[in-house]
Symmetry: C2
Subunit: 374 residues, 2 copies
DNA sequence: CTGAAAGCGCTAACAT
DNA sequence: ATGTTAGCGCTTTCAG
């Protein structure tokens, strides 16, 4: 069992408060006693118990980062950026993965609550009211979602989706599908809203496919639906789904971008490695991570009143900023001009339409949760 | 500031110990008082402070997972598996990323130490003596490394590397490069040892290239060296490097597997998505995560003696098991027969050898840290 | 500069 | 079934 402050005090012949000072306010202790204390501490392998310390100081110097799916390459840059920023300010980051499960999410906030000074809720799947509730237990900054009254860092995926649709319109596409993401995703709603409006404005038809799990599998599973729907372009909820979809289309004999154009969202590193390279809406993930940490720790340097209860120091809400980070469409190889005269379908099946597919789509796609907007 | 147990006691007119019992041993309290207490708690938004609780029980019901690089897709399956197993046993997992930095690694162990009941050290980069030292502060299970006296979960990459080399030998390759990973990696040493022995046994020459950062960039950066070295096959430290290398070779005009065969290690999901699909040594990452959690929590159900200091309950060393998990070579499309007559190099440069490259290699490659084994 | 004392929020004997 | 008491390991007034 690890040595405690008392063991060190005994070994070095001083009172425990002197040992305490040696570690938390070294300048307040006589240099000679300090070295004696340090020596005993070293010898006993003593390390201050940060949990006990936090109980009284109210500060752990840790921050929690809760994310929906650690396997999604979208998150690592955000995590790294948050870690870097936290490190600058002498904080450590603990990451928790929720597996896209709202229940796990809530549990994890509570598990983390008293082990950290604040929590970054990244792409939360729980309800707004629950978010508000947990924010009364521990300071929270929300990433990738707007919650009234709470500090939020968002990325303007609405603008991104608009640019994507306009890009596709410019290439002549008029029948476009939106490959939706998971239920409960704010990003998903934003994309749908903005893409719908842009399509409407451009006189295009937007077919909604989803909700889907935001993974390659989720994207690939909709390849058949995309084929049936007769669209010439697809905007996917994220790059992973876009890549999965391209794979799936490939297996159906449909080429990207010759037969179908595909746009993703996120600009994960992988999107430059696949063939074709993915056209996608780049989101400023690293900036989001840094900003969120800054917002959480903005009052870090202020003094704390005594008497327990975490004070205004971390996550105070006097200045509940909500910041919207800009996105940017990066055009690569997965988008191209609309096929001239409808398309011949190499992987043709009985449902496969003739060359006049474009003129005679045979009605909107029927999908679980599918909708036709405009 | 959050409500404490005292607030609830006051509000419901009972002693704080009754409130405590209501939450930690509900069956010991009268149903009627229980509902009263619960009601006040609900109303006040009271949540037991798990840090304070841990201070006395010695159990946080959290476990820490320290990994070298959260951006490496090798880890997520391990993380998910650990989380799942932990969840079964009513534990939560906090992940910390070290960025391949031994210093950050040590800091994070200390930051986590008292917030968790034990730590899983995954592919640690710090020295064995440091690992032993931190293991005196908090129970530790080491993954992907062998440390005497500590519980370890390893994957038999040695066997995997041997299979990979034998596979290449079977395809006729006699000049093979080993694309090394990061310094301080146990896996790296194992691979080098086993691959060296297998190459020697098969009468092949093994050129060592490295150390390198275990990333796509790290792999791609060695493409030129690989070309110069005149090898016909490469075994990479991991899939990421293998994929990066294939990219790099592609840009030099070398085709995989026609000109060069490439084998990775890990079998990350991505290795099935790239073209060509990667031949690789599949490591049982999920099993490793589960096993490590089991080893850490093996004495979880035992009673704990009173008097502070975490006891035998978690991470006890009475049974310091070291388990070695099996690996398996999965053959896909990135390996093929050795080029018949040396290879014509589409991307040929002044250094480019003629068709008799194989017979006249012009000496071993000179690389930073490069060695020629056998 | 150092010691004494109080207490962070909670649990766990021990009584009653 | 509930209250009393004594701390877990540490920090922080307050004296001296």
């Amino acid at each position: 069992m690890p040595a405690t402050i008392r063991d060190v005090a005994r070994a070095s012949g001083v009172h425990i408060s002197t040992v305490s000072r040696t570690f938390s306010a070294p300048h307040l202790v006589n240099p000679e006693t300090r070295v004696r204390v340090l020596a005993s501490a070293e010898e006993l392998g003593y390390r201050p118990n940060r949990a006990a310390r936090a109980l009284i100081t109210g500060r752990t110097h840790n921050i929690g980062l809760i994310i929906a799916d650690i396997a999604n390459p979208f998150f690592p840059p955000l995590i790294k950026a948050a870690e870097g920023q936290a490190r600058h300010r002498d904080y450590h980051v603990f990451v928790a993965d929720t597996n896209e499960d709202p229940t796990a999410e809530e549990e994890l906030v509570h598990a983390l609550a008293k082990q950290v000074d604040g929590v970054l809720l990244c792409s939360p799947r729980m309800s707004n009211s629950l978010i508000e509730q947990v924010s009364r237990e521990v300071p929270v900054v929300v990433i990738n979602r707007q919650v009234a009254g709470l500090p939020c860092v968002m990325m303007d995926v609405g603008q991104g989706a608009r640019s994507a649709i306009e890009h596709l319109l410019g290439l002549g596409h008029r029948r476009i599908a939106l490959l939706g993401g998971p239920r409960g995703s704010w990003t998903n709603r934003e994309i749908r809203r903005a893409a719908g409006a842009a399509a409407r404005a451009g006189g295009a038809e937007l077919t909604l496919l989803g909700p889907n799990p935001p993974t390659e599998t989720g994207g690939g599973a909709q390849a058949e639906q995309v084929r049936r729907s007769g669209v010439t372009a697809v905007l996917a909820y994220n790059d992973l789904m876009a890549i999965g979809l391209i794979e799936g289309l490939d297996q159906l004999g449909l080429r990207v971008p010759q037969d179908v154009s595909v746009v993703g969202v996120d600009d994960i590193a992988l999107s430059r490695l696949t063939r074709p390279k993915l056209t996608t809406v780049a989101t400023p993930t690293a900036a989001a991570g840094r900003t969120a940490v800054d917002m959480l720790l903005q009052h870090d340097s202020e003094p704390r009143p005594r008497g327990g209860g975490r004070s205004a120091a971390v996550g105070d809400r006097r200045t509940t900023a909500q910041v919207m980070l800009q996105t940017e469409l990066v055009i690569r190889d997965s988008t191209g001009p609309v096929p001239e005269t409808g398309r011949t379908r190499p992987g043709g099946t009985p449902e496969s339409p003739g060359p006049h597919r474009l003129a005679d789509p045979g009605g909107p796609a029927r999908t679980t949760g599918g909708v036709v907007a405009s």
